[in-house]
Symmetry: C2
Subunit: 270 residues, 2 copies
DNA sequence: AAGTAAATGTCGACG
DNA sequence: CGTCGACGTTTACTT
């Protein structure tokens, strides 16, 4: 057995170039113990469900996490070649000279089958420790910072509420300008395209059809496509650039804060 | 050195429980040689770019592919915790007692920094062989099967063309019905929601504004949301269910075909 | 369970 | 290089 474990590595299991049977044995154990599993091998992959796919033999890296999500990566690209979301039923076995991994999802019913001829490496990590993760500047966070600092948008603006249900959907934010006119805001955290402009237009038309003829519509985004601007201008709507970095500083939320090295250290030395 | 390589595994490199310096050495070599790299370690992650994120120390699996895409997975979930798309600039080094991996993307400028305290496993695969991959039943494939079998939609239908440029976009497919009326089709491979109905409506209105008042609009999908059906009916548009499995059989395309074990074998034994 | 909108969406195609 | 739409989108949230 090429199973190894150092003092600080008690939770790690690894086999390098194992037989199919050895690989299957470790993988079964890892499935039972809810470990985080890794399989680097030469495989064929089959999938059928909402779509269907097939691949010829090639090098793939398969990850099975404790929550039974399955991710199959080929040697290129950010996106996995095949996958199965968490909660799948995963099984491992040796059939007809291949290590076969199956992952079944119900609702929708989808099956992923991996047929591995040669296994390069099998790894497992028991009781993995999840990092705490915090993502800044989601759309809702941008909205909250803007609602707290309406002067960033225009003078005399008073924000009254967020997430106003209108027709089929929600207005991100709304308030009254210095002249007392109702202003409705649509917020995008990335460059706003035509579809964002259409979304705003739809809300404005819904409000106007309810008699609110004097409503302004403003699209807020770090940037705008030409076609978005065209649609906004022909529809009598407005748009205003927002500075994400400025908002980020205003939010200035930190999960880890003190002690932890800041990203800006690295950015400085880039 | 815990570097290992068997006959059939000449392309594999692996270090189990290496020192940070050993790990960095192997990773630098793999970067130079355009290998496929794997790092299983206890890390903190920082990201700033279109968004910004931060994580506390925890177990992560980092993949760096030959095309310089970087994918960082935590122990849970289908989606990576952090990532960088292909074409990034990746560097590895030891700084202040940590193995530091940086991945920089330009345009948009985004930086990902990993700070690893303990390395469980470093693996590398040289000259990885990409599986050939084929995905069945994309929207275009559905369209082509329907165009070749218009009787599946309605009797007497004659398909004239696909991808007709209209206004800002393309009509998926169009033709003439048994009464000689122009019919425009919008195809969705999954349940069609309101947005699909709106899309069709937009095309129809564009065509009518060009004087084609007698045009029919039909939404084709395996299923429809209630709100989509409402919008279609109030707009005088039509919808028709399509059977993906039937289309799949009609397409019956196989990349690998003979010799390769068929997915249906596994489906049968589920 | 179903629908709707966000996402560091990614990816590919086309102008 | 921008813009647009598809995607096995996934994910989160609300009804």
């Amino acid at each position: 057995m090429r199973l190894r474990g150092c003092r600080a590595l008690e939770r790690l299991r690894a086999l390098i170039g194992p037989s199919l049977r050895e690989a299957a044995g470790l993988m079964e154990a890892l499935l039972r113990e809810r470990g985080w599993m890794l399989l680097w091998a030469s495989c064929r992959a089959y999938y059928e469900g909402r779509g269907a796919s097939e691949s010829s033999r090639g090098d793939v890296l398969v990850m099975v996490k404790p929550d039974r999500s399955v991710i199959v990566h080929g040697p290129r690209g950010f996106k996995p070649m095949n996958w199965q979301p968490s909660g799948s039923t995963v099984s491992v076995g040796v059939e007809a000279g291949s290590l076969v991994v199956k992952a079944l999802r119900r609702n929708p019913r989808e099956l992923l089958v991996l047929e591995c001829g040669e296994v390069y490496l099998v790894g497992g990590l028991l009781e993995p420790r999840s990092p705490e993760f915090y993502m800044y500047m989601s759309e809702s966070e941008i909205r909250d910072v803007l609602a707290a600092n309406p002067g960033l948008i225009e003078d005399g603006l008073r924000i009254v509420g967020v997430e106003l249900p209108v027709e089929p959907g929600f207005v991100d934010m709304y308030g009254y300008d210095k002249d007392g006119r109702l202003v409705v805001f649509e917020i995008k955290r990335v460059k706003a395209g035509e579809s964002a402009a259409r979304q705003l237009l739809r809300y404005i038309e819904a409000l106007r059809s309810r008699g609110l003829s004097n409503v302004r519509g403003v699209l807020l985004a770090p940037d705008f496509t030409e076609s978005a601007i065209r649609l906004l201008e022909t529809s009598g709507l407005e748009y205003k650039r927002i500075d994400l970095r400025r908002l980020y500083e205003l939010a200035s939320r930190r999960l880890l804060g003190r002690g932890s090295r800041d990203l800006l250290d690295y950015l400085g030395r880039g």
